[in-house]
């Protein structure tokens, strides 16, 4: 039998984007320390249902840290106290018996609350739509490894592609900026040969869409600390460089003058 924890929870409840919210205080007794944070919420919800109270809504899907659906503020930290860990992969053994845990949704003007702990992150979809694709010719599938890609390039692109789009970066940022997310999506494609044809167009389009929704980076570095995939701040620098370069150079004008 694993050790049991008795916790005091303060969970944000809110019926919709414009509803008045408030905290629900719950005495969560006998929570197995081997439970994940979301399993702890499951246990709490089962008990709420048994008491005829509406269960708390929270986002979750894969529960193995790869889909980016989960994510709440736990005691003022996005995804809680463990570095590089999504809420679903956080385990209750990281907490102590008797702890009070405050659980709140992500906060940003562009992440309106849908219900309780679940927010609407479609602003991220708008950013990806703006340029998160490559053009590939149809027809016969090319041979594998036809395009040589240096190992370092494949690695750094993969590191950027690890972003699961959970939104913790925005939630952790004092400016609600989405630079870490956007730069990861850009770096993923902008470093690969397949991403070159649309590189400058993509950078301008995704950055400008990002700016339509989110704040602006002041280089605190909070996003990186909160990120379950530990996406690097360097990607933000690369994005800044590509954006300004694209704006200044305007190579595409050369033939038209």
């Amino acid at each position: 039998m694993s050790k049991m924890l008795n916790l005091k929870l303060k969970i944000w409840r809110q019926n919709g984007p414009h509803a008045q919210g408030s905290f629900l205080e719950v005495d969560a007794h006998d929570i197995p320390e081997d439970a994940s944070f979301l399993e702890m919420l499951d246990v709490v919800n089962e008990r709420l249902i048994a008491d005829d109270v509406e269960p708390v809504t929270f986002g979750h899907d894969c529960r193995e840290g790869i889909c980016g659906t989960c994510g709440v503020m736990i005691n003022g930290q996005a995804h809680g106290p463990e570095k590089g860990t999504a809420t679903c992969q956080l385990h209750m053994r990281k907490f102590n018996d008797g702890d009070e845990i405050v659980i709140e949704p992500w906060q940003a003007t562009s992440f309106p609350i849908l219900k309780d702990l679940m927010v609407d992150r479609r602003a991220f979809d708008r950013i990806v739509e703006a340029g998160g694709y490559i053009s590939a010719p149809t027809g016969t599938a090319p041979d594998a490894n036809e395009i040589p890609i240096p190992k370092e390039v494949a690695d750094t692109s993969m590191d950027a592609a690890a972003c699961i789009g959970c939104g913790a970066c925005v939630a952790a940022c004092p400016n609600s900026a989405a630079q870490l997310f956007t730069s990861a999506k850009l770096h993923h494609l902008n470093t690969l040969p397949q991403g070159q044809p649309e590189r400058w167009k993509r950078t301008e389009a995704m950055v400008e869409t990002m700016e339509d929704f989110f704040g602006s980076c002041t280089n605190h570095g909070e996003c990186h600390e909160a990120c379950p995939k530990e996406i690097s701040l360097d990607f933000i620098a690369f994005m800044n460089k590509d954006y300004v370069k694209s704006k200044i150079k305007n190579r595409s004008l050369a033939s038209k003058r």
């Binding site: 919210g21 503020m73 709140e104 570095g221 600390e225 701040l233 460089k241």
Partner: protein
């Protein structure tokens, strides 16, 4: 369903000149802020080094002040080069502040109403990075005060154009004025500490290999400027710089505009 607030800027009907078009973007605003920051930083360092002549005596520093007006020697009319530098600096200052102001407004809007009950846990942000707006405003107020004090001589009947040495002494000999200089330069050093780290990121010229060195660079440059600038009011207060043997008007240089 909710609607996510997208900033629907009123795009100007006609395309603006590229530099203004670029300035509409937050990333580019930040880039321009960093460029103007570097210009200001260069000025601050040169200003501090030049003022070190205070320790070589009245002759030296008064001569230095005079030489600034003679910059360019016989190639340009007297004070013209100085005026070009003054105008350039003022422009950099104005642009820096305008970008800071408009990005700050946008960030507050993107953040929205602070809903978190549990205070945000800062993991990476430091005091300097979170107080850039305040340290910046203190620097602005200080620059105005400093010009009025030593360039225009508003606060003292003893002020003589061209007698830099005596003017500095007469100003900083009063402890409330010395205190203002000390407090403002602490704010300036904090601003430079975050700014000198931040600018590499913003300009996209960081390099993963040297990222740790950047923090030390920021510490070093902020520290040097702090020590240098604090030394002047402290030296006057401590009696290291005094008016013994100094007769006002003794340095009969071509004082003037």
């Amino acid at each position: 369903m909710t609607t996510t607030a997208r900033r629907e800027d009123t795009k100007p009907a006609r395309k603006l000149p590229w530099i203004l078009e670029m300035y509409r973007s937050d990333v580019a605003k930040k880039w321009i802020m960093a460029v103007s920051g570097v210009i200001l930083l260069g000025y601050i360092a040169a200003h501090m080094l030049g003022n070190m002549k205070l320790y070589f005596g009245a002759e030296e520093i008064n001569h230095y002040g005079e030489s600034l007006r003679d910059l360019g020697g016989d190639l340009v009319p007297r004070t013209h080069l100085l005026w070009i530098m003054r105008i350039g600096l003022t422009a950099a200052f104005a642009v820096h502040i305008h970008a800071a102001y408009s990005l700050t407004r946008k960030n507050l809007q993107a953040r929205g109403r602070v809903r978190y009950d549990e205070p945000r846990q800062y993991l990476a942000a430091n005091y300097a990075s979170r107080t850039m707006r305040w340290s910046g405003v203190i620097v602005l107020l200080f620059v105005v005060f400093h010009l009025a004090d030593l360039t225009w001589g508003w606060f003292s009947d003893d002020w003589v154009r061209g007698d830099v040495y005596a003017n500095v002494y007469n100003s900083m000999d009063a402890w409330p004025i010395a205190l203002i200089y000390i407090a403002a330069n602490v704010a300036l050093a904090m601003h430079i500490f975050h700014g000198a780290w931040s600018m590499f990121q913003t300009l996209g010229i960081n390099n993963p290999r040297y990222n740790n060195a950047r923090k030390n660079f920021a510490r070093g440059i902020a520290g040097l400027i702090l020590i240098g600038n604090l030394s002047f009011p402290l030296a006057v207060q401590g009696g290291l710089v005094d008016l013994d043997g100094h007769t006002p008007g003794q340095y009969n240089l071509e004082y003037g505009e």
